[in-house]
């Protein structure tokens, strides 16, 4: 466990916590884990614990809503790789964490969520603000605990942080009855973890690694398919080495963005429903698909029956359940991508694949990601493209969910891991505002920008108040088309333009955010876009919001219609 500093904190606990109350034990465990900031909201069941936190050097960020708290914790975790901590009271406070837990579970984000619970002797009685959180969160957490005694508290916190951050990371919930935060520990606590069933396999089997290399060496048209696992594993350099040695072209999932420098000629950008045409064609024509830390999500594969029909599949993943769950792996390698790729590079032979690489280069030339410029409206894609240039492709970018998210994935030009913080698996609208704030807490000196849509932004914009309170220079760009654009696009394409429920009248966002205490800017004229973006980027006295009125009926292309094969994508205006 990490050494801690007790600069401000007055108490140093006895090794075995004897005489300490539950709240103090929790606090000490958080300190020992190196937690420097946590996000939450108080409530009845948390009062004794918050009393302990009053004197703590840990920064306690109080949000406007518990969902904001857990998304901030996720943003913090995604930007750093450290475990994010969220805290909410029993009942409604705890249930407000549910979306964030499910989001962190699908995106493998290390989170420890602490929830207050009613007094132990009231559990099961439908007490005031009681909800069965271990029951509710079971399918959306990696693990959860209901603390039964103050004796177990230290051990459970040790186990929770260990489980959340190792193997395939994920959220862990600890439900703490309020009496346990008050009770004092009478005899020394045993912090030895008791999780004999938790043994994530980290090192890959050498023979599997060799077979994988053999299959790759023998292939004429290999393709790396890189997911978020590479980011979690911090395996970017190892991946690059394998890629360069074997001259292997590579595509990423949404979660894998940043694992490849997109300016590299071997990078084909994102694959899948809104992936680049090059990535999708390459997937369909490759003879060897090497999945690394990716899980063949339906938004990636399209129609499974025709997905990558000629490919021998190599699948490297730390989670054995991901392997052969959707697509049968011919060569499975279970373990941590970093170590596996480091070993694999030895066995990769430099191979001449000029023909394949030329074909890819040709696709890239013929079907670049693009859009039709001009017209009286600002094109949303141009906003992202311009932002990429102005920030040197180096900012931390959070997003909401929808069209703006896909344009961000397509046009920013990501260069390095942990640069994009987006809700990939669950597709949680409203993720952008709080996750950007969380990332800014984690990286105070970085430029953090939430690229959002008017729909997603509306859901959680209240958290800007939190950013104002903490004087964070987070930046928000809202692509305002007064539609719920992604669903509207489907309605336009597949439902006769019957825009049911997707017309989305917006308030005067500038006034709203000014009311919050943030800077508000609005731009409608394409000629003024660059200046508006510069004004946003130059403002560092607190949060700033740029509302961009964009072309209201712009669509995201390419698009693989649901159930179609990757090569049957609609290219839109590129075709």
């Amino acid at each position: 466990m990490a050494k801690t500093k007790y600069t401000k904190y007055k108490m140093k606990l006895d090794k075995g916590f004897v005489g300490a109350c539950g709240g103090e034990i929790i606090h000490q465990m958080l300190m020992d884990q190196g937690v420097d900031v946590m996000f939450g909201f108080p409530g009845g069941a948390l009062i004794p614990l918050f009393d302990v936190l009053y004197d703590s050097p840990i920064k306690l960020v109080i949000t406007r809503h518990e969902q904001g708290a857990i998304h901030m914790a996720e943003g913090y975790a995604r930007a750093t790789g450290k475990t994010g901590v969220a805290i909410a009271t029993s009942g409604p406070g705890a249930t407000n964490l549910v979306t964030g837990l499910a989001n962190a579970y699908l995106d493998s984000t290390p989170i420890v969520a602490i929830t207050g619970q009613v007094r132990s002797n009231l559990i099961g009685n439908d007490a005031f603000q009681e909800a069965d959180m271990t029951g509710i969160s079971r399918p959306i957490t990696k693990h959860n605990f209901l603390v039964g005694s103050v004796d177990d508290l230290g051990r459970i916190f040790a186990e929770a942080f260990h489980i959340a951050s190792t193997g395939r990371p994920g959220p862990v919930l600890i439900d703490v009855p309020v009496d346990i935060t008050v009770n004092k520990l009478a005899r020394a606590a045993d912090l030895t973890m008791r999780i004999p069933g938790y043994k994530p396999s980290l090192s890959g089997h050498i023979r599997q690694i060799q077979s994988a290399a053999k299959v790759i060496n023998a292939s004429a048209r290999p393709l790396l398919y890189v997911g978020g696992g590479v980011i979690h594993s911090e395996a970017t350099a190892e991946l690059r080495a394998v890629q360069e040695k074997g001259q292997l072209p590579a595509t990423t999932t949404l979660m894998g963005l940043g694992a490849l420098d997109e300016s590299n000629p071997l990078a084909l950008q994102m694959v899948g429903m809104h992936g680049s045409a090059t990535a999708n064609y390459a997937t369909q024509e490759c003879d060897c698909l090497i999945a690394v830390g990716a899980r063949f999500d339906d938004r990636v594969t399209g129609n499974l029956d025709t997905f990558a029909p000629d490919a021998t599949v190599v699948h490297i993943d730390i989670d054995p359940t991901s392997i052969s769950k959707v697509v049968k792996a011919d060569v499975p390698v279970v373990g941590d991508a970093k170590g596996i790729l480091a070993q694999m590079v030895e066995f990769i032979e430099p191979t001449d694949r000029t023909e394949w690489l030329e074909k890819i280069a040709d696709w890239k030339k013929r079907y670049p990601l693009g859009y039709e410029p001009g017209g009286k409206y600002i094109k949303p894609q141009s906003v992202v493209e311009k932002l990429g240039e102005l920030t040197d492709h180096d900012a931390i970018i959070a997003t909401g969910v929808g069209q703006h998210q896909m344009w961000t994935a397509q046009f920013y030009g990501f260069r390095k891991p942990r640069q994009i913080i987006t809700s990939g698996g669950l597709g949680t609208m409203g993720f952008g505002v709080p996750s950007a704030i969380g990332a800014q807490f984690a990286c105070p000196d970085a430029t953090v920008i939430d690229i959002d849509g008017d729909g997603s932004f509306s859901m959680t914009m209240g958290e800007i108040v939190t950013a104002v309170h903490h004087e964070l220079p987070v930046k928000f760009i809202v692509m305002d088309n007064e539609y719920l654009g992604m669903v509207r696009q489907w309605q336009e394409m597949f439902f006769d333009k019957r825009y049911s429920g997707t017309v989305h009248p917006c308030p005067d966002f500038v006034k709203v955010v000014e009311g919050f205490g943030a800077k508000g800017i609005r731009v409608e004229d394409p000629a003024k876009l660059t200046d508006a973006l510069k004004e946003l980027l130059d403002y560092n006295d607190g949060p700033a919001v740029l509302i961009v009125a964009v072309d209201p009926e712009e669509n995201v292309y390419p698009m693989v219609p649901a159930g179609k094969s990757l090569h049957e994508m609609e290219l839109g205006r590129l075709a």
């Binding site: 399918p139 039964g148 999780i195 004999p196």
Partner: protein, 160 residues
């Protein structure tokens, strides 16, 4: 196809709900699920009969292994093993039919656990096939009530 899988789990509150919930959420089809104590007071054994092909079974095994309190998963497919199911069945057996019912019980090496004026409660252990054969044979007499534990299993020979 039916497969017998056992999972050694830590004795903690919620572990049964966790596993049954996982099965339900992932759409796995359970034929029976038995939980009982083991020689180790901190561990219980779950024996689960799952219906599905090899791909489903592989996922079942892996998903079980992923549940944190699950310490060990064992698949009994293609192994030499002993499987037992326990049946309690109340059969309509007025005095004139009772000897015939008791005969069947004896043939199956079962036991009459309770006798009432017009019925008997029979206890019988064996493989699922044997239990089902017995149920079929007593059905004409009239089954008043039936309860089964579901299968538990253990490998034959020395412990591996």
């Amino acid at each position: 196809m039916k497969h017998v899988i056992t999972a050694l789990v830590q004795n903690q509150p919620g572990v049964l709900a966790h596993i049954s919930g996982m099965f339900a959420a992932r759409g796995f089809n359970i034929d029976s699920l038995v939980v009982g104590r083991t020689e180790d007071s901190e561990l219980s054994r779950m024996t689960i009969v799952v219906v599905g092909d090899d791909t489903v079974l592989e996922q079942v095994r892996k998903q079980l292994g992923k549940v944190i309190p699950v310490v060990k998963v064992r698949d009994f497919t293609n192994t030499e093993n002993v499987q037992r199911d326990l049946l309690l069945i109340r059969v309509h057996a007025p005095s004139e039919k009772r000897p015939a019912v008791v005969d069947l019980v004896n043939l199956f090496r079962g036991r009459v656990a309770d006798v009432a004026r017009s019925s008997v409660v029979v206890e019988l252990t064996g493989t699922e096939d044997k239990i089902e054969a017995f149920i079929d044979l007593v059905r004409p007499y009239g089954i008043r009530e039936l309860a089964r534990t579901g299968v538990i299993a253990m490998q034959r020979g020395g412990r591996k």
